[in-house]
């Protein structure tokens, strides 16, 4: 994929992020209202971000490419 396409894909996702946030807040607010929320259960853990896996992938791509010597 060329840089412009990569940027376009990333931009589309980035642009969607504030909408995503509003959507989640809306889901929570709506659910609370409908159910007279008295939440007693708690989300205990958040998934680790795993950015190290992306580093490994990119490193492998760099290693796999044939680069000029100079």
């Amino acid at each position: 994929m060329d840089p412009a396409t990569i940027s376009a894909v990333a931009s589309a996702i980035i642009a969607a992020e504030p909408t995503l946030e509003k959507m989640i807040k809306s889901i929570v607010a709506s659910f609370s209202e409908q159910h007279g929320l008295d939440a007693v259960e708690i989300v205990r853990q958040i998934t680790p971000d795993k950015h190290g896996e992306i580093d490994s992938t990119v490193d492998a791509e760099i290693e796999a490419h044939t680069w000029p010597k100079t």
């Binding site: 990569i6 990333a10 931009s11 889901i27 659910f31 939440a39 760099i62 010597k69």
Partner: protein, 160 residues
């Protein structure tokens, strides 16, 4: 190089985050109120805040990972297109990683604060003041994360 398949996988991950947020919230909430004391209200609001933050952090992490990878892939592509060496390509990628290091630290702190609050809420008789302090700390972390994400968005938009 970033393949179309990878991009689709990440888009799918984002979509999955939305669903997961909804499912987590739905599965982690129950209805049925009794006469609420101040303590009950503090705990209920803290639980709501905690669960909402967890969903938001998951969603922000998914977006951040897409941006993180895309920024690195763009730099590798530029290095290839300019006929640069492997070391030059690695230097470009290292700059991106250095820019993102504080963001990953912020996510780690936010996860830790969330875990602390969740443990507190799950304890037998959590004190309202301790819970409120943890909620405030979590709120600060969310503000910090949102600022980092806004900065990353601006950087990505500036690179267009």
């Amino acid at each position: 190089m970033l393949k179309a398949k990878s991009a689709i996988e990440y888009l799918t991950l984002c979509a999955a985050s939305i669903l997961m947020a909804a499912i987590m919230f739905a599965s982690c909430s129950t209805s049925g109120c009794s006469a609420a004391t101040t303590q009950d209200i503090v705990l209920r609001d803290a639980t709501l805040s905690s669960n909402t933050n967890a969903a938001l952090i998951e969603a922000m992490q998914s977006t951040a990972l897409v941006m993180y990878r895309a920024e690195q892939e763009v730099q590798v592509s530029i290095a290839i297109n300019k006929g640069e060496t492997k070391d030059q390509a690695k230097s470009r990628v290292a700059i991106v990683r250095a820019q993102w290091a504080p963001v990953w630290d912020a996510f780690a702190k936010a996860r830790l604060v969330h875990a602390t609050l969740a443990s507190l809420l799950a304890s037998v008789s959590p004190g309202a003041s301790a819970v409120q302090a943890a909620v405030n700390e979590a709120a600060q972390r969310m503000v910090e994360l949102q600022a980092y994400m806004a900065a990353a968005r601006s950087r990505a938009e500036g690179a267009q």
